[in-house]
Symmetry: C2
């Protein structure tokens, strides 16, 4: 069954720029969502640093959102009431960026997706490793290697009694 | 000689919120700068995510800025015309944050500072490892382990001919 990418793109744009206001502050837009994966587009101006290049925090934010989006869409397609959070991750900044830039992420392979969903069913926790990249003119300027965890949502009355977990 | 922390705090606030506009979008302020180190304060609202907790990208941005600020002040005190950039780094997200938060960084020890400055003199490149933390009510919610590099500024006419380096 082909996913309704147009509908998903509208939902994802709303999530990344309205529910996460930093996405709007960064001028983020969803340039492409298809069978290959996701491309986020970001202008330089709101993301600039004191050296006139892209701020490392803006790059890390764009990478974290790009890596999060595809597992989040998988959970939505499967109708799973789970939070998706990032745990430990590693960032590499390879070259300064003097223009707008793109954050690109490819879909995980089918085996990884199956393990992600079956972990969620069996243990209430599904893990997925994602490796989004920042590119400028098809050159990789930064990359992220991150593990995302989907966690079955706790009952609200419980989570209120444990505000830090 | 005691540094003029009041003057440095004004300069740093301008750098982190005007020269790096994402700092202003995040509502960042310099809460404290003294012999212990630096405390940045951030409210939740501009940094919230779809789950109502602090967005990982906002935490990573605050950590990257906290780690960058102290070496940047060292270069300024020593009057060195060098850019300060972040290379590879590792982030750990330990607990969700439901309120405003602080990004805290301690000064490196004197041996590390000496090696940083002598590397800049001898090879045009000084390295410094920084480990800022995000805290809420004195509990660590996220941490960064990052290597920052100070690089002697190239001549402008050269860097114009190499826009991606």
């Amino acid at each position: 069954m082909t996913p309704d990418y147009d509908e998903e793109r509208i939902w994802l744009t709303d999530t990344l720029t309205r529910k996460i206001p930093m996405g709007a502050a960064m001028g983020l837009s969803v340039e492409r969502l298809d069978d290959h994966g996701l491309v986020l587009d970001l202008p330089l101006a709101p993301n600039i640093n004191d050296k006139g290049t892209a701020f490392g925090g803006a790059m890390s934010s764009a990478l974290i959102l790009a890596g999060w989006s595809l597992p989040r869409l998988l959970l939505r397609r499967e109708n799973r009431a789970a939070d998706l959070v990032i745990g430990r991750c590693e960032l590499q900044f390879l070259a300064p960026i003097h223009t707008g830039f793109k954050a690109i992420c490819r879909w995980p392979d089918q085996a990884a997706i199956s393990a992600f969903l079956s972990g969620l069913d069996a243990r209430g926790k599904g893990l997925l490793d994602m490796t989004p990249e920042i590119t400028v003119d098809d050159t990789v300027a930064a990359s992220l290697s991150a593990r995302y965890a989907a966690l079955i949502k706790e009952d609200n009355s419980q989570s209120h009694s444990q505000p830090n977990r």
